[in-house]
């Protein structure tokens, strides 16, 4: 501790910028980790909180995917002897249409029984109506809102509130206001209670409920009640405590969570690199100090502990700052995360608070300290190995011996062979990811050798342009490969990651566009929401005929989509008129005969599944797919596998007739509208809007708008690639500044001698600039090469574990062509300050090193 105060603290005070950089490295990693996870958890917490608060005294909930189920199921549940109270529920999210107020969660309940499960705790109410459920029932425009919502919107008892319904804008009357607390905090307070039968009508839900909330008899254990209800209802229903629905959200967001973890890991890696580099420099600069300490009796262990102690202290400070910045980041990002989850998964939530998780914060501190110590481990080890004799003799430095390089090369060769062998060893997750890890370790071990080889290769070219400066710059790299290899390695890994992720982004664009062209080819889409993935409102099937009668419309297809549970995970069920669709849609077929698969599916005797569903669940053509429905187990042979981007976790297409039969649901989410050749889209859109203006809430989205919407979501999803490119550039700048600082410290005497014998300042400057650009070029070359391998692994990871999508290997040349000049420019810019510092240092002092 005393050494930390005497030695480390003094060094930190003297090198404030470098110390801040070290702390910033940790803060960067921790901030991204905390920020992204907190934003994500805040949205998830809002989901969880809403589920919890709405659950009230509910012990079990019965549901059957998003499609809901027929009203008669309620009678079956209520008839079970284990059940004490069972009430139906519909949840729907609507836009308030008021600036800054976002969405409103409408909870449709049956007032006759619901209050035995949920306490509305009314502070003011139209007593007669609220107290008598039958009167409430008779007033379908009745709404109960929370006190917060009422205050924010200036609502009082009997105020009128306009909401967009399936039948157009409707006026509702506030008949009760709930006191703040418990239930009213659900959905950030934007909650309204409405009669369930009114909700069915307003949202086009037919005679369906979303779920049933229930309590069991006094002496009935949860497990017994659960088992009894499962027997009564069959496999098409989930019977779970409210926490079971929370698990469903988590499962839907699986891919998003994995992506989040990758980004966090990338940020932590960058943070580790910065710390490593800072400590490596510190060891170089403090070699004399270490030598003195060793000469005075400090053991290697004491030196190692001194540096590790410093790194732990920096880790603690960096983690504290990182947590603070992370929370700020989360505050900014939570809205965006919520929006993205809504757009991609159709999960709407109102997260207006940051959910701080003490475990996450503790983990962040642990990660900060541990990663800091891990990053400082090698420099601390080098510090402990400093030779006191050489250290106290000015102007000398230790270099990596040839023997060590040879050993590294041999280990790298063995690891590369093992990695190649792992590719041939099947689908095991451990073998696959182990192979990837071995490849990276092999590349890292080979970096000093490859950097040396490349430096020798480019030496003649550099010398050709600038005989003295070019040779000196290349020689600096050749003489001390270890000095450069850390930066080259970090640059290489960053670029490899950018190429891998950027490559997947690009590889997915073309198939996505192909899919949009071949499958999303109607001229327009008529939807009940602005958002294609929102399934709150539904149209009646009869609307199709009405649409087809509008002049200019040639052909209309009705689509019903609902997220269901398949093998414990979410899957998007698409019920369409297969016969009609097959005439217009030409999806890319992965397996199966195109004509036969549509014919079989249209006849209700088969199912067409998406490529990613097949990949993620190891399904193949001809296999029988079993899907639990409210009417029992639906068994259909897989008639075909096609490329479909409808859902990240897979989709399956069945005929609408099958959907209607097994879910007893003929509602429609989207109408796909094809126009006559001579029709003008804009005019037809106006006609549709005019035709339904007073009857229906609907939106008409032109093909181009839908395509742009999907591309915008995709860009948002892949937005992190651009962040990673920025981080790669940051790595380049920091790494090269640090490397040059060490290089200049090491070569102070050499640079002094050059100046003493007549070297001009500009020559020194050019030498350092060229050294920087050479490091950038070497790192870029190796990064682009490792990127080719990284892309292969990233594509495989995407296919086998993330989205199940199989994309063609295509090296992202435009990304490579864009990033290399950026890296070289960053390298040059990062050399400006070190070069000026080198030429402005005291010549006498530099020569004293002699």
């Amino acid at each position: 501790m005393i050494l930390l105060r005497l030695i480390s603290w003094q060094y930190a005070r003297k090198h404030v910028l470098r110390s801040l950089l070290t702390v910033a490295g940790i803060a960067l990693g921790v901030a991204v980790f905390v920020g992204m996870h907190t934003a994500n958890q805040s949205v998830l917490y809002a989901f969880h909180s809403t589920v919890d608060r709405i659950a009230g005294k509910t012990q079990l909930q019965v549901w059957s995917g998003e499609a809901g189920f027929d009203e008669e199921v309620l009678e079956r549940v209520q008839a079970a002897t284990e059940v004490k109270v069972a009430v139906p529920v519909i949840e729907a999210v609507v836009s308030t249409g008021r600036a800054g107020q976002g969405n409103l969660l409408i909870l449709g309940v049956d007032m006759t029984g619901d209050r035995s499960l949920r306490d509305y705790d009314l502070e003011s109410a139209d007593a007669e109506i609220i107290e008598d459920p039958l009167v409430f029932l008779a007033q379908p425009d009745s709404l109960i809102v929370t006190r917060d919502f009422a205050l924010r919107n200036g609502l009082a008892l009997n105020s009128r509130l306009s909401l967009s319904t399936m039948e157009g804008e409707k006026q509702f009357t506030v008949r009760g206001i709930m006191r703040s607390g418990g239930l009213t905090r659900a959905f950030g307070g934007n909650l309204a209670i409405m009669d369930i039968y009114a909700v069915q009508k307003i949202f086009g839900r037919g005679r369906h409920f979303d779920r049933i909330d229930l309590t069991l008899g006094d002496d009935v254990p949860l497990e017994r009640g659960q088992a009894a209800l499962r027997r009564v209802l069959g496999p098409g229903f989930q019977v779970e405590p409210p926490s079971g629905r929370v698990a469903q959200f988590d499962s839907i967001l699986r891919v998003y969570s994995i992506s989040l973890n990758i980004s966090s890991a990338f940020a932590l890696f960058i943070g580790m690199f910065i710390i490593y580099n800072s400590f490596a420099i510190a060891v170089t600069q403090r070699r004399t100090e270490i030598g003195i300490l060793r000469a005075l009796g400090a053991t290697r262990g004491q030196i190692r502990r001194l540096f590790l102690g410093e790194s732990a202290a920096a880790g603690l400070l960096g983690a504290a700052l990182g947590v603070g910045f992370g929370i700020l980041l989360a505050r900014g990002a939570v809205g965006q995360v919520g929006g993205m989850l809504e757009g991609i998964y159709g999960l709407t939530q109102r997260a207006n608070e940051i959910a701080l998780n003490p475990r996450l914060i503790s983990l962040a501190f642990l990660i900060g300290i541990v990663t800091s110590m891990l990053s400082a481990w090698i420099p601390a080890h080098s510090a402990a190995r400093v030779d006191p004799v050489q250290a106290v003799q000015k102007g000398k430095y230790q270099v990596l011996s040839a023997g060590e390089n040879r050993l590294r090369r041999r280990i790298a060769a063995v690891l590369a062979i093992l990695a190649a062998a792992s590719l041939a060893m099947g689908r095991s997750m451990i073998v696959f990811y182990g192979g990837y890890l071995l490849t990276i370790v092999a590349a890292l071990l080979l970096t000093p050798t490859l950097a040396l080889w490349l430096a020798r290769t480019i030496r003649p070219a550099l010398r050709g342009f600038f005989p003295v400066e070019g040779a000196l710059a290349a020689d600096s790299l050749i003489q001390a490969p270890r000095r450069t290899s850390a930066t080259v390695a970090a640059l290489m890994l960053s670029l490899a990651m950018v190429i891998g992720l950027g490559g997947v982004t690009r590889a997915s664009y073309r198939p996505l566009i192909d899919w949009m062209t071949s499958s999303l080819n109607p001229d327009m889409f008529v939807t009940p929401s602005e958002n294609l993935s929102d399934r709150t409102y539904r149209f009646p099937l009869a609307m199709r005929g009405e649409l087809e009668r509008i002049p200019g419309i040639d052909h209309v297809q009705s689509v019903r989509t609902a997220r269901m549970i398949y093998r414990g995970g979410p899957v998007l069920v698409i019920g369409i008129e297969v016969d009609r669709v097959s005439r217009r849609v030409h999806s890319r077929v992965i397996a199966g005969d195109p004509e036969r698969m549509f014919a079989v599916t249209a006849a209700g005797a088969g199912v067409i599944i998406s490529e990613n569903l097949a990949e993620l669940n190891r399904l193949s053509l001809g296999e029988t797919l079993e899907l639990a429905t409210p009417e029992g187990l639906l068994r259909l042979p897989i008639a075909g596998i096609t490329r479909d981007f409808s859902d990240q976790q897979g989709s399956l297409m069945i005929d609408r007739s099958v959907f209607q039969r097994w879910w007893r649901d003929d509602a429609v989410n989207i109408f796909r509208v094809y126009l006559r050749r001579d029709a003008v889209a804009g005019e037809v859109k106006e006609r549709i809007l005019e035709r339904f203006r007073h009857e229906r809430r609907l939106f008409v989205l032109l093909n181009q708008e839908v395509r742009q919407y999907i591309l915008r979501l995709t860009n948002q999803w892949f937005g992190m690639t651009y962040v990673q490119i920025a981080v790669a550039v940051l790595v380049a700048v920091l790494g090269i500044v640090n490397t040059l600082t060490v290089s200049i410290t090491d070569r102070r005497r050499e640079l002094g001698v050059i100046q003493a014998v007549g070297g001009l300042r500009k020559q020194i400057r050019y030498t350092i600039w060229m050294e920087a650009v050479a490091i950038g070029a070497i790192g870029s070359l190796l990064g682009l090469a490792l990127g080719a391998i990284s892309l292969y692994y990233t594509l495989e990871m995407t296919r086998r574990d993330f989205s199940g999508m199989r994309f063609d290997y295509e090296y992202p040349l435009p990304i490579a062509a864009a990033i290399v000049p950026i890296i070289l420019a960053a390298a040059f810019l990062s050399a400006l300050w070190p070069a000026e510092s080198a030429i402005r240092s005291s010549l006498v002092e530099a020569l004293e090193y002699e």
């Binding site: 005497l6 003094q10 003297k14 004399t288 300490l293 290697r300």
Partner: protein, 224 residues
């Protein structure tokens, strides 16, 4: 106290360089000897081997009966810590620490209590005549004063052996003589074994014994 037997030290680089060749030397307890010779004759290498900073390629180095070549790195460090004090030509003080802190450093490395460390450091700085400069930083001191701090630091645990590499080499004549006088004074008062590597004939003549090295070999060993 110090016994070197057939010690050879070679450095492997692009070409192998022999810094010391089969050197044998014994130094008695309390003796004060100068090691002289031209540049590259192996003086500093000899001092580094005796100080346990380096290991011989062959031969034996014994300090107070302990064979250094048989010790681990930590073992060598303990020998340095307990038995040897170093005085360098360029002082090698830590620039960010005050005089007291510089002197207390070896004691902290031994895990001494803070109060005891401070008392000893003040006592040593008084001994070298710097009682009035306790809280000064090295950059605030003259060359001679810096070397006095370095000597106080070398004496921190009153080691039986003091090794000085050109202790006056970076000082003017007058200051050099003062430092030499201080070293003699300490030798008389503390009775330590002192080896001084020097180019300065005056320094060498002031010692009881002068060992002359040339091309890695002892060519003369003169006792007065």
């Amino acid at each position: 106290m110090i016994q070197l037997t057939q010690v050879t030290k070679q450095f492997d680089g692009k070409r192998r360089v022999t810094a010391l060749e089969e050197v044998s030397l014994g130094v008695d307890r309390g003796e004060m000897a100068a090691i002289v010779g031209p540049s590259g004759s192996g003086k500093s290498t000899l001092l580094n081997l005796i100080g346990g900073l380096d290991r011989p390629s062959s031969g034996e180095v014994r300090i107070d009966g302990s064979l250094l070549s048989g010790l681990s790195d930590d073992g060598l460090t303990r020998v340095r810590r307990d038995k040897i004090g170093f005085i360098f030509q360029f002082f090698n003080l830590l620039p960010t620490l005050t005089c007291v802190e510089n002197v207390s450093l070896p004691l902290h490395l031994r895990g001494w209590a803070r109060q005891k460390t401070e008392e000893r450091s003040r006592e040593l700085l008084e001994l070298v005549g710097l009682g009035h400069r306790l809280e000064h930083l090295p950059e605030e001191l003259s060359g001679g004063e810096r070397q006095r701090v370095a000597i106080a630091r070398a004496l921190a645990v009153y080691p039986p052996i003091l090794l000085a590499d050109e202790p006056t080499g970076n000082l003017d004549t007058h200051t050099g003589q003062e430092i030499l006088k201080l070293v003699h004074d300490l030798h008389d008062r503390l009775g330590a074994t002192i080896l001084i590597v020097t180019h300065d004939a005056g320094v060498a003549q002031s010692c009881q014994r002068t060992v002359t090295l040339r091309d890695g070999r002892i060519v003369e060993d003169h006792r007065r």
